[in-house]
Structures are given as structure tokens and as C-alpha cells.
């Protein structure tokens, strides 16, 4: 994290205008350098996650069980890559060229969400990614409609609308497996068992709102724990309704304090994934992205007339 030399008085006025007056910050407005830095890093990670999130599902387009599912999955992958385009454009307005962001992503210099590091073993993993992981993304993305950066807030409207379609796609696949043969049902249960902890990780630690830099800077409107609770309230009843057991034996809704109680996930395992080397799936996906990036660089140069970014060997 670099150090910033922001004027404290102006920064205080800036924070007050976004938190108290609900002002949206526009690209040409003055903003503290720390806000620019953190906002860019946040949106860039979001964009990276959309692009990397398309890969676990892309791996299943050819293997999807029916033509209808292949087409629906291909359409969803197209939407996710489209979200990446929209978000890189927003991130670019904060000063980092899109090509540099993509180059950083494929060479592992920037990060993306933990849930896209995992392999998809069976069609049930596609159901879990489409319904539970996308569901987790919808919860956090809906909150982002209230973010303080104007271009981000506006682009999220379109993204959230498309995500609600993905939610239907995911629920449709889930219900087909849950209501299918015993083998399909067991496959789905195993998928949920695999995805439970990554989804608990997805929301992050229970950081108090007043200690969360993302909330301090008006980038993230909802705390990690509020997002996790909102996700559980929406998705756990749906899983139970399908007869799918949740793998955490301590999970229960407490009517008195209006909260879900659950077992704290192993945060060291999360750190090993996002700060370490990811998984074998991460390496394969990044290698595939690097290869495409290098092979297609000449097309990019031809169309844009850009000077190529130096690509690491």
C-alpha cells in the first residue's frame, strides 16, 4: 500500500459530501489520492473477477447435458465477459489503462475473487456457481448500486439486471438436479458441500463497519457480515426447501436475535488461495488466458493502433 499526501481538510470535506450528502463522485472531480487508489483497486478486482468467473463455467459449455443448457450457459458466459468490459472501462476512468489491467491479471500481478480459483468437477458445480456463487455476487453487487463513484453506480444497474437473469438460470439448473434422479441429487449435495466454505470466505472477515477502509471511503456500502447474513437469509431456505443439507452443523437461524449463527470458516485456507498460488485450476485458467492474450495481441494492435504492452516471457 503506497503512502498518500492528501490534504486532510479537503479529504474530510470530500468524505462528508459522499457520506452525508450522498454526492456521487465523477471522473473529472477532485478526489483524494487514497480514494482513487482504493476505488481503482476495488473496481479492477471486480472486473478481474467477472472475466475469471466466466472460465469455470466456460469449461462446461461443451459438456452441458442438453443443447438448451449449452446455449443458456454460453449466453451467461457472454454476459460475464461483458461485465468485465463495462467494469474495466469504469476502472480506466480512474487512471489505469485497460490493457495494463488485463496484462496484470493474466500474469498474476493483480487478484480476483477466491471463488473463481476452484475447479468445477461435475455439472453440479456449475449449478452451485450459477446459483450460490452468483447469488453471493448479487448480494454484494446490489449494495454497490449505492457506491460513491458515479460511473460505477450507473454501470452496476445494468450488471445487477443481468445477474438476476443468471440467478434464474442457476436456480433452474439446481431445481432440475434436486428434483431429478438419486444420482443427480447426490451430485448436487456433494457440490454444495464443496462450495459452502468458499462462499463463506467470499464475503470476507466480519470487520466492523467503522474499521473497514472500503466503507470509510464510501466504496463498499455494506459490511461483510451484513452481506453474508443477507445471502444466508435468501439462499439457505432455498437449499433446505430442495432437501439439500448445508454442511455446517452449527448453522441455524436465531429468531430472537434475528441472525444466522454459523461456524467460522478457516481463514488460513482462504489466504492460502488468494495470497498464495491458488489451485491447479487457477494455474490452468491463467495459462489459458495468457496464451489467448499473447496470441491475440496483434489483432488488438491492428485495431487500436496501440503500442503493445511488453509481455513477460
Amino acid at each position: 500500500m503506497p503512502t498518500f499526501d492528501d490534504d486532510p481538510v479537503r479529504t474530510e470535506e470530500f468524505l462528508s459530501s459522499i457520506h452525508d450528502d450522498g454526492r456521487l463522485v465523477e471522473p473529472h472531480d477532485w478526489m483524494p489520492e487514497e480514494y482513487r487508489y482504493r476505488n481503482l483497486r476495488f473496481i479492477e478486482m471486480h472486473a478481474n473477477s467477472e472475466v475469471m468467473g466466466a472460465l469455470p463455467e466456460r469449461e462446461w459449455i461443451a459438456r452441458a447435458p442438453t443443447l438448451k443448457r449449452k446455449r443458456s450457459l454460453a449466453a451467461k458466459v457472454q454476459d460475464e465477459v461483458g461485465h468485465g468490459h463495462l467494469l474495466y472501462r469504469v476502472a480506466e476512468s480512474l487512471g489505469k489503462p485497460r490493457r495494463q489491467m488485463y496484462d496484470d491479471l493474466v500474469h498474476g500481478r493483480t487478484s480476483f475473487h477466491n471463488v473463481f480459483h476452484y475447479p468445477t468437477h461435475t455439472w453440479a458445480d456449475v449449478a452451485c456457481v450459477g446459483f450460490l456463487v452468483d447469488g453471493a455476487a448479487i448480494v454484494t453487487q446490489q449494495a454497490l448500486l449505492e457506491t460513491s463513484y458515479g460511473p460505477y453506480a450507473r454501470v452496476m444497474k445494468r450488471i445487477v439486471a443481468e445477474e438476476s437473469l443468471h440467478y434464474r438460470h442457476g436456480e433452474d439448473v439446481m431445481l432440475a438436479l434436486a428434483g431429478g434422479t438419486q444420482e443427480q441429487f447426490e451430485m448436487l449435495q456433494e457440490g454444495v458441500d464443496r462450495w459452502w466454505e468458499p462462499i463463506m470466505h467470499f464475503f470476507g472477515h466480519d470487520v466492523p463497519a467503522d474499521q473497514d477502509p472500503g466503507m470509510h471511503w464510501g466504496i463498499k456500502p455494506q459490511s461483510n457480515e451484513d452481506s453474508r447474513q443477507a445471502w444466508m437469509s435468501k439462499y439457505v431456505p432455498k437449499l433446505w426447501d430442495m432437501g439439500i443439507e448445508t454442511p455446517d452443523p452449527a448453522l441455524r437461524w436465531d429468531e430472537d436475535d434475528q441472525r444466522w449463527h454459523y461456524t467460522e470458516p478457516d481463514w488460513d485456507r482462504l489466504m492460502a488461495i488468494v495470497k498464495g498460488d491458488g489451485t491447479e485450476a487457477t494455474r490452468l485458467r491463467l495459462a489459458a488466458r495468457q496464451q489467448l492474450w499473447q496470441h491475440h495481441a496483434w489483432i488488438h494492435d491492428l485495431i487500436t493502433g496501440d503500442t503493445p504492452v511488453a509481455v513477460a516471457a
Binding site: A75, A153, S164, D172, G179, F185, P237, D241, G243
Partner: protein, 118 residues
């Protein structure tokens, strides 16, 4: 005189949307005119003008139509969910997993099944 397309933003959180056209001598005159023609009643917080000749219009709108069913790109391609959920519930009961939906969940102390019974 030239024709200009008018784009406006109602609130800061809204996208720029087409609001109409004006005729004006140049960009500055168009900007000034639009304030009186389209934005004098607080219709928006920001607006822009673009020379109409700079718009590249799709020459053949039939390119937006599909020859095959692509309803999976829209919500109605998946709805209604009621019968699908009912089928999954019945399957859960048949597998002896019906108890799961009688656990307490938000808004329903007695679980999902209690709500369905009401």
C-alpha cells in the same frame, strides 16, 4: 444551422439518455438552447449535445431479431418456477429430506413448510 441530439441525466445515478433534438448554429448555441427547451423544469442534473450527423444508426433493424428461440437470454425463458420448486420439494419429501424445510428461517419461526400451510 445543424441538428443536435440531446442527452440528459435525470439524477447523478442515472445514465445519459436521449431527450430529443434541437436545431442550432453550433455546439455552444445548442448547449445554451437545450437549457431552455429541455431542462428548464429541473428535468436533470447534466446534459450533453452531439451533432446528429455523428450518430451511426444500425442500417437494418432486423439484425436485432432472432431466427431461433433465444428466450434463455430473458427471465421469461425460465419462469414459472412454481412447478419446478414443487417437484424438487416432492422429491425431497420422497427422499426423507422433508424435515429440512421445517427448520426456522427468517420471517418464519417454524420454517418454510409452515408458511406453505398458511
Amino acid at each position: 444551422m445543424a441538428t443536435f441530439e440531446v442527452l440528459g441525466r435525470r439524477k447523478h445515478s442515472d445514465p445519459l439518455v436521449h431527450a430529443g433534438q434541437v436545431h442550432a448554429a453550433d455546439l455552444d448555441a445548442a448547449l445554451m438552447l437545450v437549457r431552455e427547451t429541455h431542462f428548464r423544469h429541473e428535468e436533470g442534473v447534466e446534459y450533453a449535445v452531439v451533432p446528429s450527423e455523428h450518430l451511426h444508426v444500425l442500417p437494418d433493424p432486423s439484425l436485432l431479431e432472432h431466427d431461433v428461440d433465444m428466450s434463455y437470454r430473458q427471465n421469461h425463458g425460465f419462469t414459472p418456477f412454481g412447478p419446478k420448486r414443487e417437484r424438487a420439494r416432492a422429491a425431497a419429501e420422497a427422499r426423507g429430506r422433508g424435515e429440512l424445510r421445517r427448520r426456522p428461517v427468517p420471517g418464519r419461526a417454524g420454517g418454510a413448510a409452515e408458511k406453505d400451510a398458511r
